[in-house]
């Protein structure tokens, strides 16, 4: 079969979009959107890696920081949210054996994530809007540095993403609790209670032990979704606040910046942002590890009740750890720094450590296992968090934070290793595992490319984080520029590692396109011919 034929029709013409259910098309649309934006984020990352070696003449400094502003948002909202939301909107009904509450709403979520991400990315690109994602007050409303119109559209884009997020939250909780037509009445309150861990908490203090109404992966999704909802509320509120200043400026009125307390704003913003970084990411990832481990092994999860309890603890912890971002803020009360910043943050070592241990033991119980792509990516994801979480615990110490805060250590060994190695490899594991299921058995174009994808991504991700971390320990700041080559040794090695990540993604993307074919990819976006709410076709 010729290359062109495979490119157009897919590997052995095994992918037939006409056989897909609306649910299968829905998840595949999310994954395509997520992968396209992952590509955006990788290219942006590579531009920044090169810029950190030597400024690129065609890219002004303001544009460099505009890229840095959009980069994490494209990665989190455009890519990770899309892949995670699509997967969970498919898995919750699949695992609960009941239809999704609303497929059109799910498609709206996908559309809003795609359009919202493009809106803020494009607004940032055109206007070079660059207050960075931390948005420390009053920087986002500093119109002497940033374009008013660019900022306005940037915030509108973020708001669209958040509206899509709210629709996802509604769809997940309605799916867990609603009664499908023709079914016996479902105990909505008890289902939600079980999903959130309230019934488990009640049972802990009671002699009457009841069976859990929802499975562990669904409970993990529900608990992470609570943080997703709270975060959407915080970001929407923050966006509205900034918009008020922007609209006032557009109408010719300069509002007083000091009307908003900068430290209070910082606490508010980090409380919300940590619901992602230390909340839904860790909860969703742990839940996904458990699901993957049980699907790969076919065995029951080791210490399942502890795993369930740990997810509940993680949810509560995620509401109370934000102060570790404010350890260098001298006006922040000391009690918050030590209790929230140091002690409660330590619980993340415990909850993630438990998830790591439980997943490994579950895998071990089924040996010998075949080293499939899902298994090797799962092990990569476990390694990523095993590296990144202790790095985070170290910087969440009042003594060490004094010499680590805002250095490349934070963004390298902690953030990028957690996101690229821990989170992304876990998502890749899920994609490789679900690929045959959601494509009705489409064949992967190349096993060798998948193996290359694994090694290039693993080595690239760990390498980049490590070299950034070494530069950070030598004093290199994040969100800064060193134009005299002060840290070029580390930055060149980090860029080479970044290039490996880029090649890994290109190999994966090419492999997927060749597996599905261009016609197949386009077919994902046409309406399904099957009139069913079931996740999979009847036969």
């Amino acid at each position: 079969m010729s290359f062109i034929h495979t490119l157009v029709n897919g590997e052995q013409e095994s992918f037939k979009p006409a056989t897909l259910t609306p649910m299968q098309k829905m998840i595949l649309r999310f994954v395509v959107v997520g992968l396209v934006y992952y590509g955006f984020a990788v290219v942006e990352g590579m531009i920044m890696r090169l810029y950190e070696i030597t400024p690129i003449p065609t890219v002004p400094t303001q544009q460099f920081f505009a890229i840095m502003t959009a980069h994490p948002l494209v990665g989190i909202f455009g890519s990770t949210y899309a892949i995670v939301f699509g997967t969970f909107l498919f898995l919750v009904p699949f695992l609960m054996k009941k239809p999704l509450w609303s497929i059109p709403l799910a498609n709206w979520t996908c559309g809003l994530l795609a359009v919202g991400t493009f809106t803020f990315w494009f607004a940032g690109f055109l206007s070079e809007y660059a207050p960075l994602y931390t948005l420390y007050w009053p920087l986002p409303a500093d119109f002497t540095q940033f374009s008013l119109w660019g900022g306005t559209f940037f915030i509108v884009g973020i708001a669209l993403v958040m509206v899509g997020t709210v629709l996802f939250v509604v769809n997940i909780f309605k799916t867990i609790s609603y009664t499908p037509a023709g079914w016996a009445k479902q105990p909505a309150g008890a289902l939600i209670g079980s999903a959130l861990g309230l019934s488990g908490l009640q049972a802990f203090f009671s002699k009457n032990k009841k069976e859990h109404l929802v499975s562990l992966p669904v409970a993990a999704i529900a608990r992470g979704t609570v943080d997703t909802a709270l975060n959407a509320g915080i970001i929407l509120f923050t966006g509205v606040l900034i918009l008020v200043y922007m609209v006032a400026a557009l109408l010719g009125h300069d509002l007083r910046h000091s009307a908003v307390d900068a430290l209070l704003y910082k606490n508010w913003f980090w409380w919300g942002l940590d619901l992602i970084a230390d909340g839904l990411v860790l909860i969703f990832v742990a839940g996904t590890w458990y699901l993957l481990a049980t699907l790969i092994t076919g065995k029951k999860l080791y210490m399942e009740n502890f795993a369930r309890a740990a997810l509940f603890v993680e949810m509560v912890v995620s509401w109370t750890v934000w102060s570790h971002h404010l350890m260098s803020d001298q006006a922040q009360p000391g009690i918050l720094k030590t209790v929230s910043g140091e002690m409660v943050t330590s619980f993340e070592l415990i909850t993630q450590g438990l998830a790591f241990f439980i997943t490994l033991v579950t895998l071990w119980s089924a040996r010998p296992l075949k080293m499939t792509h899902p298994l090797k990516f799962l092990l990569g994801g476990l390694l990523g968090f095993a590296l990144a979480v202790p790095a985070g615990i170290m910087q969440a110490d009042l003594g060490l934070n004094r010499i680590l805060h805002n250095t490349q250590w934070i963004i390298g060994p902690h953030v990028h290793v957690a996101v690229l190695v821990g989170l992304t490899m876990t998502l890749y594991s899920a994609i490789y595992l679900l690929f045959p299921l959601v494509t009705n058995g489409a064949k992967l174009y190349s096993e060798k490319l998948a193996v290359f994808h694994f090694w290039a991504h693993l080595l690239g991700g760990i390498g980049m984080g490590a070299f950034m971390g070494m530069a950070g320990l030598q004093g290199m700041l994040r969100r800064s520029l060193y134009v005299n080559g002060e840290f070029n040794g580390y930055m060149i090695l980090a860029a080479l590692s970044g290039a490996l990540l880029l090649f890994a993604f290109l190999a994966f993307f090419f492999n997927i396109v060749m597996s599905l074919g261009l016609e197949g990819v386009l077919g994902i976006f046409t309406p399904s011919r099957l009139d069913t709410k079931e996740p999979l076709p009847a036969n």
Partner: protein
């Protein structure tokens, strides 16, 4: 006082050792999990021991640093410590305003840097000539931002903003403006 470079060196060693150990463990696991063998049940006692280990590790880190990193207790109790010298510094429009051209410090002095921002959030850090960091703090408008530090060896330091304040803040650097001298006059 223990220098921050020594603490960083210790951290580098500890984390590198941990990274090598966990990578070796995962490599070993990946190999063994594919090999045939008896899959004995992992006893709950091992699980509980692991939980206890994590609890002890997570909490003890902060106690260990409290008793080994001298600036940590000094920072937490700085309101009760009388400094030998105070420098009042202000920041506005991406520019540091120092009380004098050079900040001259005598060895072993406890020095309070009191930094005020009149507009945006900035950072305040001291850096050695090899670009490594001595310390830093955030400078938030409308709030008191002070840090107490004891200098026990001679040196020349550069002040640099350690927080992003827009592209205009990239060059917020005052080179070699802090001078610590151990010569007795």
């Amino acid at each position: 006082m223990v220098d921050s470079s020594i603490v960083l060196w210790g951290q580098t060693l500890a984390y590198t050792f941990y990274v090598l150990a966990i990578m070796a463990l995962m490599g070993w696991f990946a190999r063994r999990v594919t090999q045939p063998g008896e899959s004995r049940d992992v006893k709950p006692a091992l699980f509980y021991s692991f939980v206890a280990f994590l609890v002890v590790l997570g909490v003890s880190l902060h106690f260990i640093t409290y008793y080994t990193i001298p600036w940590k207790p000094m920072d937490m109790h700085r309101a009760t410590i009388t400094p030998d010298k105070v420098f009042d510094i202000s920041v506005a429009s991406h520019t540091f305003q120092l009380p004098s051209e050079k900040l001259i410090i005598a060895c072993d002095d406890k020095v309070l840097f009191n930094v005020t921002s009149r507009d945006l959030t900035y950072g305040f850090g001291l850096f050695r000539n090899d670009h490594s960091m001595l310390f830093q703090m955030q400078v938030v408008p409308g709030h008191k931002n002070d840090i107490l530090w004891q200098f026990d060896k001679p040196g020349v330091y550069t002040i640099r903003s350690t927080e992003y304040s827009g592209p205009a803040g990239v060059n917020m650097t005052l080179k070699d403006v802090v001078v610590v001298s151990c010569e007795k006059s």
